[in-house]
Amino acid sequence: MRNERDISPAAPASKQGVGARVPRKEDDRLMRGRGQFVGDIRLAGLQDVAFVRSPLAHARIRAIHIPERYRDVVFTSADLVGIKPIRAITGLAGFKPSDQPILATDKIRQVGELVAMCVAPTRAEAEDIAASVTLDLEELPAVYDMLKAREPGSPLVHEHWGDNVFLESFFELDITQALDAPIKVTREISTARQCMSPLEGRGVIATFDHRLDQLTLYTGSQMPHIVRNGLSDCLEMDQGQIRIVSPDVGGGFGHKGILLPEEVCLSWLTMKRGFPVRWIEDRREHLVASSNCREHHYKITVYADRDGTLRGIDCEATVDSGAYSSYPFSACLEAAQVVSILPGPYQMPAYRCRTYSVATNKCPILPYRGVARTGVCFALELMLDLVAAEAGLEPGNVRLRNLVRPEQMPFDNITKKHFDSGDYPEALRRAVAQIDIDGIRARQRKGEDDGRLIGVGLSIYCEQAAHGTSVYSGWGIPMVPGHEQATARLTPDGGLELKVGVHSHGQGLETTLSQVAFEMLGVDVAKIRVVHGDTAMTPYSTGTWGSRCMVMAGGAVATACHELGERAKKIGAKLLQVDEANVVLVDGEIRGPNGSVTLKEIAHTWYRRPQDLPGDVDPGGLEATSGYKPQRDSGTFSYAAHAVTVAVDPDLGDVEILDYVIVEDGGVLVNPMIVDGQIYGGLAQGIGTALYEEMPFDRAGQPLNTTLADYLLPGPTEVPMPWLDHMETPSPYTKFGVKGIGEGGAIAPPAAIGNAVNDALRGLGVEMLQSPITPRRVLEGILAARDAKRTAA
């Protein structure tokens, strides 16, 4: 394992601006344990909430029995008069909406669904009360398998639909042209249901301020403004009566990108009872109840010529969306995205894909880091290796033959995705060279002393990020990003405040947005504060999702800082007694032909000594709010090639990662050190998808891995230090040429590791087509192949 890599900083363009490896400002508090998360907040009179949750996946509620002594501290749907269910629609034709009750009404549709809310001075007492409530339920047959759920006669999650399909999506172009291809490979490939497992779970504190006539909700959220929209809808309250505060957030990955029924419940409860209330999600609730991700199934055929040229792809994909359409992303984003992104970074003349977003008696699935791309990459890249095996070619060469080439950029692919820039083949070539495929092939021929089997695998993807209005208006979900806004304000002492509506859940935005402002204004990063996570203090934003912050909020900060700089120039020119056209802003000062004045002096004069300004000074002031969109808002396309060497123990099925290489291109990197960290974190999650994480369900719809002893997450000893190489092809459309990069690390690992395992097992005639690739699955595959051989012999 190559654990030693050179981490000496690249020479930055400026010591604090775009491209500099500035240490993270927020780490000063976070690494000293001084961060403030929802669970750290104490309010006078705070009481704790525990929920009675459904023990069954599918049932009718006959009765809820509350002991007489707890009547006034237990609440059910009957108490929530006037509260509307959560409803996340889409504008896609044929979509069937679902109403997610805040507390279950007549029917239960998933294990863990909220049935009653119990409040007490401590969580333990609230749990005691919850344990005393008994449910009289009539169990219904559970919809536990998304493929069976599509069959006629299946039990129905939402009876009035007539079937279990939220949405069917379809695309076809010239598929008949591909059918005569000499190579045709068909497989079924699937990815398991997972939990997102941020270090910090969800948490909510609700309190009402009568002086302000305002509900304040402290909630660990990626998108405080969207929570306010949703809450305002459910509670039928004016937006001005709702303030959402998202303090420090310990990881989100999508899990903190939805409106929770718990948020609605606690908002109602604090207004009903008059004291602040708190609910902190425990790990069991996280695993069982609130949201899952990743469960895809593909039936896919790839057509190719003997030289590996892709002729077309034909696919039917199913996504298990769970019981309800989550707000705001809906139940359909994932499956609809599969249709549009399955062709990956490749060119091909023919393509057909049909997908189903299927309702089941499981908790809703959410877009998890990488969203549908992790599943799509797994399916497509596994198939390309099978095509390569069929053609007798090196998998890398098959990819090089089909990747979009740099001279074709910008490139509109078969589904009209507009790839903005990049050199995909170069990324793959670098990864192939670094992993040393020739060396591994020689080693494979020789064999291992310990009897293990060595395999090497590749994968490559491109990832649309920072999707704008033109993309999201097409989905028609409750949230469409427009111009991203930011406010820049010089303080009287020359410091800078930036206010943004996106929120950091670990990305280091307090540092990177400060670097952008430094680049624009020359104000020292240490003198810049980023204000975020509070609807009362920040401009509207759809929040942090889709790897959008650096492109969108970074662009908005640059635009606001530019506007602020223009205003400072106007004041500075007056102070220098020259025409505005003759001054420039350089290194934090306004320079004229015969002198200069610093931003600090300008701020001091504007706020503290206005008597020094002439009467005709521009009145705009030193606080600017501006909106930003890239020149083209169809998204940036970052990309990466991953290469991995594994050793498989054929007697136990264990997979060990021996070497891991990542070559990625996220456009211009504002802080390469932070990007490194995001890629390491993404890789860890990708390894989890590939080898460990799985939430299985039984036929009654019961989730089976309900503690972290059963639901395995990779730990430090399971995640290797990768060799990392950055390419930096600017996006032609964004400020500074940045691209969204935060999710990418989690996309490619399952595909690369899957290909490496299959490479190792090829001689045994075993293929792993299902994630996670557990020792058990590998061993069962090997034993079955041995039995088949024995029977044939």
Binding site: D651, L652, P714, L783
Partner: protein, 277 residues
């Protein structure tokens, strides 16, 4: 995930602990709490009283008495890992201890707590069975000795009676000619084992004791394991190991899944190989 209400007693010595344990209602003894804590929080157990013996000095006592090492029940895994107790097994116990769960668990978890919990996947139930250890049990009525091989009855089940606690583990000094092998299969570092193989083989004495653990029940203990080695134990025991006999043994023990048997046999073979190395 908060426990149901319970009374908490922290007695000052073993005698008062035994008195507290003789009280009414369901009593659970806590000795480190590394398994009991999560079970309480998940409300899988809801005792009326917890008697916490973790801090009792009497139960941390360690001494070599004749041909035995007597280890108090509240000695932690970390005490053993760090070599704070005499080594009578030529490093075997130290190696086992160092691979139990995570260091944080080893700092608090105790051998007595682990054995009393009787989790089939835990390391000590298999290790001490292979090392031919004896357990000292004590209740208000008196003391008794039980061989480790007779202690565990099934998953989370032992011969411990209500009011009775495990006081000490007595481990025989390992003979100089004995060979030790211990291998377990985990999906990740610190995870509970899915298969354990523990072997104590003495070719000079012609004896071998083989334990197959993590079988979702009490470990399978083969006292006289000649049949696994073609009928006799000699210096070439590694090459004489017969995987088919082990497989049959597991089938007879009710392990019907072929992949399960394959894993356990593989782990056992590797434990034998380690002993031969």
């Amino acid at each position: 995930m908060k426990p149901a209400p319970f009374a908490y007693e922290r007695p000052r010595d073993v005698a008062s602990a035994l008195a507290a344990m003789a009280g009414d209602g369901v009593v659970k003894v806590m000795a480190g709490g590394q398994s009991l804590g999560p079970m309480l929080n998940l409300r899988l157990v809801a005792p009326d009283t917890i008697v916490d013996i973790t801090g009792l000095a009497e139960l941390k006592h360690v001494e070599v008495a004749g041909e035995e090492l007597v280890i108090g029940a509240c000695v932690t895994h970390a005490d053993i890992e760090d070599g704070r107790i005499p080594d009578v097994t030529r490093g075997a116990m130290q190696r086992v201890a160092s691979a139990i769960a995570y260091r944080a668990v080893r700092n608090r978890g105790t051998i007595g707590g682990s054995l009393s919990h009787a989790d089939p996947s835990a390391d000590w139930v298999s290790t001490f069975a292979a090392l031919c250890a004896t357990l000292s049990l004590r209740s208000a009525k008196g003391a008794r000795l039980v061989a480790m091989k007779d202690f565990m009855l099934g998953a989370l089940e032992s011969v411990l009676q209500p009011g009775e606690m495990l006081e000490a583990v007595r481990v025989p000094v390992m003979s100089p000619s004995a060979r030790w092998g211990y291998v377990k299969s985990c999906r990740k570092t610190g995870e509970f084992a899915h298969a354990i193989g523990a072997v104590l083989i003495d070719p000079e004495a012609g004896r071998a004791r083989v334990v197959i653990g993590a079988v979702e029940a009490a470990p399978i203990i083969v006292d006289n394991a000649e049949e696994l080695f073609g009928g006799r134990i000699t210096n070439d025991f590694k090459s004489r190991f017969d995987a088919r006999v082990a497989d049959t043994l597991l089938s007879k023990a009710g392990m019907s899944d072929a992949a399960d048997r394959h894993i356990h046999v593989t782990i056992l073979r590797r434990a034998v190989a380690e002993a031969a190395a």
